[in-house]
Amino acid sequence: MTFTKTLALTALTVAALANINAAQARDQIRIVGSSTVYPFATAVAETFGKTTEFKTPVIESTGSGGGLKLFCAGEGDNTPDITNSSRAIKKSEVDRCAKNGVKNITEVKIGYDGIVFANSRKAKPMTITRKQLFLALAKDVPAGEGKLVANPNKTWKDVDPSLPDLKIEVLGPPPTSGTRDAFAELALEGGCKKFDWLKAMKKQDKNKYKAICHSIREDGGYVEAGENDVLIIRKLEANPKAFGIFGYSFLDQNGDKIQGNLIDGQEPTFENISSGAYPVSRSLYFYVKNAHVGKIAGIAEFIQEFTSNKAWGEEGYLADKGLIPMPMAERNKFSEEAKTQTNNIQM
């Protein structure tokens, strides 16, 4: 009867619907990770998509920490193939990956990024040292030998009389961000080390040393402005009294609105960062899940595009986006290792 037919048809459609979930292999690369690497990765992805027969990779900006978390959740279609990171993968993350069955990861370093301490062009530039930054932004600051107090500094002048009498208001990324990690490591720890007793502590109690040197104040002087660096720039533009912490590429893109301040006497310029003179600069990476190479179409070709000279070279389009290229020799090394997937992270 018609009714039975209808029923059968319904059953069929339901079965078909259920089938949708039984996924075929993905034909599109999925990338997650750092918001600092995001502009570079998207630029490569777009070029890759438009100049090859492969689909354009899908990229989500999740922050380095979030990206590595998703990346290390396991292998398979529902996990990303590549994660961008604005810092090297940490031991704990490697362990987590291994625990979830992600045992084979290739690390590719793509270049450098300086972390700038910037403010609005409408305001006066400020010259600052890493030690001053530490004193202004750390959660606890040393008060004499071996003693710590909760950061009492309210204005820059409190930190150092040579600095202006302005409320300390620094907009920076949250702890999920690689930029934040790098800033803590390079700038704060750099300043922290200037205190001899703290430097000495490093050898005795590394964890405590890190806890002191990397903790950022939570009493309002440091404002977590989210992963979105663009937002920080907009806020700085609007509030000339505030300072912001973000990657050099954003300074490069917005040089008409904001200015990078000198840290330890060094100006955040392309040349200074590239040469290593600017103290707060870091390497940028992406990580590839080796097990996905060959399964998901185009990963090898994508890596090749990323590591080609027309992308990450001195004249490449990534340099236009603000990436600071590695020297030729280093580029060749990473490019080769990426191709052969030999730069595996030790599990």
């Binding site: 979930n21 996924a23 599109q28 990229i59 008409d256």
Partner: protein, 436 residues
């Protein structure tokens, strides 16, 4: 009789006088009150006007794009030195070299490396893709010289459109004096023009604002709404029919009703949380896919359409039901043969309005990963894609100045869709409006 009234209980005797004295004040109050009303309506309408005009003035320029005309020589020695004409070779050829050469020919006086780099940057970095596509489509072009209009870079575009004022000091402007002089030369030669921005409607997202388009987002929105419609329309009409025509009036149906009303007022982001927790984390449906977005939006629009459908069913007079039942039709037949067809226009109107609401929704889709950078136009509801409002959200956050204009233009397109959907709903209502 008069003496039965207690004279100490006075009724106003000189009403007229007192009223007359108070009139001026009362009319002043009346006028004031009325003025508040006028002001309120004006404020609300002003809000509307300011909103629309600010977006319109920011966005209309995006429908035009600055293009540069260049004489490109498709030099065989550059593109296909081996002369194979094979797709593989053509695919990976250095088309940028063609462009650079054309630029150098146009501006022979530019010599230094730095200046040359700046010069090349006048044309969008995506123009290369256009040259590649052209060559791949018709390899016979190799060896010929063609005068082509190529997309200018966003900085040039912004300069031409006046978003980068020429009066700014050079160090505060993203485009140098030298570059401006080249642009002026091009304008003089008639090879720099604002033309209709076809790419905006035919391309997917891009990192380069001048190449970014909304096609991917529109198709993504289309698939998402398709999924929403397929899921929500039958279920909500069925639910409305049950509740309005069949359900006994008891505590259970009352609970369902209260439930539907409450669901209609649940913040949309909560539906996003539901989608994340259940569709992604429990059911493992693909991230960033219209199918998940559609599911979430279907649940969200369900109450809207149920409520509208019930109202439409309710408006069918009982006499129609009585007539059918009187002829011996079953209740089911009565409903499906008579009541439902008559209620259909109302249901359609409600559905369109619900769909319009779903089209503009952003927050729940952020929760299910539809905020990725997706260039390719999705081919179906399981491909990763974004939707128009999320694309707007993404562009609103992009650093490039030119994206402000694109964002506004995308908003205009979105509003265009919404207005036409609502106009359709009004049209349907007007056309099929029945007075019983």
């Amino acid at each position: 009789m008069t003496d039965t009234i207690d004279t100490s209980l006075s009724i106003p005797k000189n009403t007229s006088e007192i009223v007359h004295q108070g009139l001026k004040k009362r009319y002043a109050a009346e006028k004031r009150f009325r003025r508040y009303g006028v002001v309120a309506v004006c404020v609300a309408l002003l809000g509307l006007v300011v909103l629309f005009s600010s977006i319109l003035t920011k966005g209309y320029t995006a429908f035009y794009q600055t293009n540069i005309q260049l004489d490109i020589t498709f030099d065989e020695s550059v593109i296909d030195p081996k002369g194979t004409r094979k797709t593989k070779d053509l695919s990976s050829a250095d088309y940028a070299a063609l462009l650079k050469k054309a630029m150098r020919t146009q501006f022979p006086e530019v010599k230094t490396r730095r200046d040359k780099k700046k010069l090349y940057n006048l044309v969008s970095s995506t123009a290369v893709f256009a040259l590649r596509a052209k060559t791949m489509a018709d390899p016979s072009i190799i060896g010929q010289t063609h005068s082509l209009w190529l997309t200018a870079s966003d900085d040039v575009d912004m300069l031409i459109k006046g978003h980068i004022p020429r009066e700014l000091p050079e160090n505060e402007r993203r485009i140098s004096n030298k570059e401006i002089s080249w642009v002026d030369q091009l304008i003089e030669a008639g090879s720099l023009e604002k033309q209709f921005n076809r790419q905006f409607f035919s391309a997917g997202d891009s990192r380069e604002p001048e190449a970014a388009g909304i096609k991917g987002a529109i198709i993504g929105s289309f698939y998402t709404l398709l999924v929403t419609l397929l899921l929500t329309f039958p279920t909500s009409v069925a639910a409305a029919i049950y509740l309005e025509e069949f359900a006994p009036k008891n505590r259970w149906t009352a609970m369902i009703e209260v439930n539907i009303n409450n669901l209609a007022a649940v913040p949309s982001i909560v539906f996003g949380l539901l989608g994340l927790a259940i569709f992604l984390n429990v059911m493992h449906l693909p991230r960033s896919a219209p199918i998940v977005g559609g599911l979430v939006l279907a649940l969200m629009t369900l109450p809207t359409i149920i409520i509208a459908s019930r109202a439409a069913l309710k408006s069918v007079p009982p006499s129609i039901r009585a007539a059918a039942l009187g002829l011996g039709a079953t209740r089911m037949q009565t409903v499906f043969h008579h009541v439902l067809p008559l209620a259909m226009p109302g249901i359609m109107t409600g559905t369109i309005i619900g769909m319009a609401q779903a089209l503009g929704e952003t927050a729940p889709l952020l929760m299910i990963g539809m905020v990725a950078f997706i260039v390719d136009v999705p081919g179906g509801p399981t491909d990763p894609s974004t939707v128009l409002p999320v694309q707007i959200f993404l562009w609103a956050d992009a650093p490039e100045r030119a994206f402000v204009e694109r964002t506004s233009a995308a908003i205009l397109v979105l509003l265009g869709f919404l207005v036409s959907m609502n106009a359709l709903a009004i049209f349907l209502r007007k056309k099929f409006e029945r007075h019983w």
